[in-house]
């Protein structure tokens, strides 16, 4: 027996393409705008969300039959907040340097609408294993977009990737800058992310017209 049935595999692969959380479900846009000025931050955020969404989906799925429907959103919020605080505290005690890097992401994770969105749409109605796969799949789909946006914003905005200069030195005018090229300061500010995400949405929908919404 295969580890993952075909249906289970789809839980992972769908969010990467035709059911991407950012470009199709339009969840998690806020953090996609906020932290994609650098590739490194995008990557850290993607990994953190993967952890929280995977674990959170399992917890919510296990509790799905006992959660009172009237207060389910509050319960979901408490689960995310608790998970994030536990991780934060454990890191602070045993991996302090790492916790410093992640500290700024904590608030962004708790308020990330992908997490609440997947709890509400999937974990409340499915078993733990499938919920876990859904969590991993969606956070991968989210991460891919974050990394694409981060790549273009850092490259065009700062001329670096992961903080390493790849286009030469903008102040000493070496490399590409010797030809008169300049970094585009606009790429550093959040509205640029909206444009990059918009272009990704456009490309994706023109390749697969079935995704285009009617209105």
């Amino acid at each position: 027996m295969a580890l993952l049935s075909k249906k289970d595999t789809n839980l992972i692969t769908d969010p990467l393409a035709d059911n991407n959380p950012i470009t199709i479900q339009v969840l998690g846009i806020c953090s996609a705008l906020a932290i994609t000025a650098e590739l490194k931050a995008s990557l850290v955020m993607a990994i953190s969300v993967m952890f929280v969404l995977g674990a959170g989906n399992v917890v919510i799925s296990l509790m799905r039959n006992i959660i009172p429907s009237k207060i389910r959103i509050i319960v979901q919020l408490i689960v995310v907040a608790t998970l994030v605080i536990i991780v934060d505290q454990v890191l602070k005690a045993f991996a302090y340097e790492l916790s410093k890097t992640l500290a700024v992401f904590v608030g962004l994770i708790i308020t990330n609408c992908i997490i609440m969105g997947r709890f509400e749409a999937f974990a409340l109605a499915n078993g733990p294993w499938r919920s876990f796969l859904d969590g991993i799949g969606n956070s991968l789909g989210y991460g891919v977009i974050l990394i694409i946006v981060g790549f273009f914003r850092e490259l065009l905005g700062s001329g670096t990737l992961f903080g390493i200069p790849v286009l030469g030195d903008p102040i000493e005018k070496t490399g590409l800058y010797a030809t008169g090229y300049e970094n585009n300061g606009f790429m550093i500010i959040p509205p640029a992310a909206l444009i990059v995400v918009g272009i990704i949405i456009w490309v994706q929908r023109s390749r697969n017209p079935a995704l285009v919404e009617e209105n």
Binding site: A34, I35, T36, A37, E38, A41, V44, M45, N65, I66, I67, P68, S69, K70, I71, I74, V75, I78, T82, I85, I86, Q89, V90, K92, A93, F94, Y96, K100, A103, V104, F105, G107, E154, G157, G163, I171, G185, I188, I189
Partner: protein, 250 residues
Amino acid sequence: MASKTDSNVYTVVFAAVMVVVVGSILAFLASFLSPNIKENERFEKQQNILYAMGVNENGDDTGSVNFIPTNKVEDEFASYIKEQLVIQGDKITEDNEAYLIDLKKQLAAMKKGEDYKLPVFIGEKDGDKFYIVPMYGKGLWDAIWGFIALDDTMTVQGVYFDHKGETPGLGANIKMRYFMDDFKGETILNGTQYAGISVAKGNNDPLNKTKDDNEVDALAGATITGNGVSAMISETVKLYKPYLETIRAK
């Protein structure tokens, strides 16, 4: 879904149980981990103070910030920091645990008009004397803080900045070396006036060659964090001015 989960009594009981369970998990975890966390925070403060006076493991490149490793920091701190002073009104006393003073609380006490303590650390490296002063201020989203090391001509010998929640890739870059290194060699004096150092947008000195203009180049896309850094430095300078006057070489 079963109808029992819809009843009001169930909802209230569930909420109460959940609060108790989650509360106790977090309380237990926090008290269990707090000695470790406190220790880490103490090491971090020592690392930051040493970093500001140039005791760190930075390479020659302008890449990453490398502190003295935590297993060595206690000894290094003891050997480089010769004196720790606490300024309280006109009184200056020595206190070997001055570095544990939380500047945030002291500033809050000052605002309420209560007594407050200001720590100063005197470090010595290769025969040079450094006066290291802590700073605390506001960024865009949350607190920013740091340390500034001065010599007796009021020239900055090094700084360290940190923040709680500035935007990654933008304001968070105040703790990058390319930003912090720019402060080195700048003077906080303008003539004989204490001016601080401002983080300047549209600076016509991006290479930071002019060291007496009280300006360093700003971070693109992080105007408010940069303004926060400027304000933090000028507040600190104002606060410590009486002490700095006593050590300034004239």
